[in-house]
Subunit: 115 residues, 2 copies
DNA sequence: ATAATAATTAGCTAAACAGCTAAATAAAGT
DNA sequence: ACTTTATTTAGCTGTTTAGCTAATTATTAT
């Protein structure tokens, strides 16, 4: 869960940097579907949808499973939670900075009281 | 706060899809710094660092402020919270799907009881 | 057998990007 | 005035990407 390398994280964020891919992924959070179905709302070729899906798959955000000639696509929470964790980390550091500032202010206050 | 367009979100995730940029941003969550200072840990030219910083800035993740000949860089939580919100949205939908499934199971159970 | 459907692969073009070096701007120190 | 320091701009090369069309593979239906 934590042995994700930088390159893997690159791929995750990159996959999310395109609105077509984000919409596809959002669709999948609501339930599994075929690739054709997944591409229907978009005004691009099926080949383009396949490519977008491959980006999502390589990033680990989506899983495909062959069922006859249809590929069932499924949202992969494992991949997505890596994104969540990274985002959380930044937030923690950022908030930690203010905690440190508060600590500092507290220290100053105590010093003042001692005077 | 909610009038971020798809292209803006593209830029946010894109900015985060590079490990150098992520490291720069992580550094900034811990406190403000100059561009030179920010680039010091990396084995690339200062011009490259400037470009990376511009990507972070255009995405709204970082703010620059000129102080004499030095540019002070600051983490911008406003931009970052948009990323957080998007990530949260996907999580909610995904979890919502299971809630819906639970509801469905509950419905089935009740139907069974009525028989 | 053959036609239709689902999806992929190959090959193309135009645009965007990451890195570089060299040169320019702008402020500060001597 | 001159030099150093901080940063940006311009221009280059190689790589990656998004979109396309055409052709291919694999599965199902008639």
């Amino acid at each position: 869960m934590d042995d994700y390398r930088e390159k893997d994280i690159d791929r995750l964020f990159y996959a999310l940097s395109d609105s077509t891919r984000r919409k596809m992924l959002l669709r999948l959070t609501k339930g599994d579907t075929s690739i054709s179905e997944l591409g229907r709302p978009f005004d691009v070729s099926k080949q383009s949808i396949s490519k977008h899906l491959k980006v999502l798959e390589d990033a680990g955000l989506v899983h495909k499973q062959k069922n006859g000639r249809v590929q069932k696509c499924r949202f992969n929470m494992d991949g997505f939670s890596v994104v969540q964790n990274v985002v959380e980390e930044y937030k923690k550091f950022w908030e930690g900075q203010f905690d440190a500032l508060e600590d500092y202010i507290e220290t100053i206050k105590h010093k003042e009281q001692k005077k």
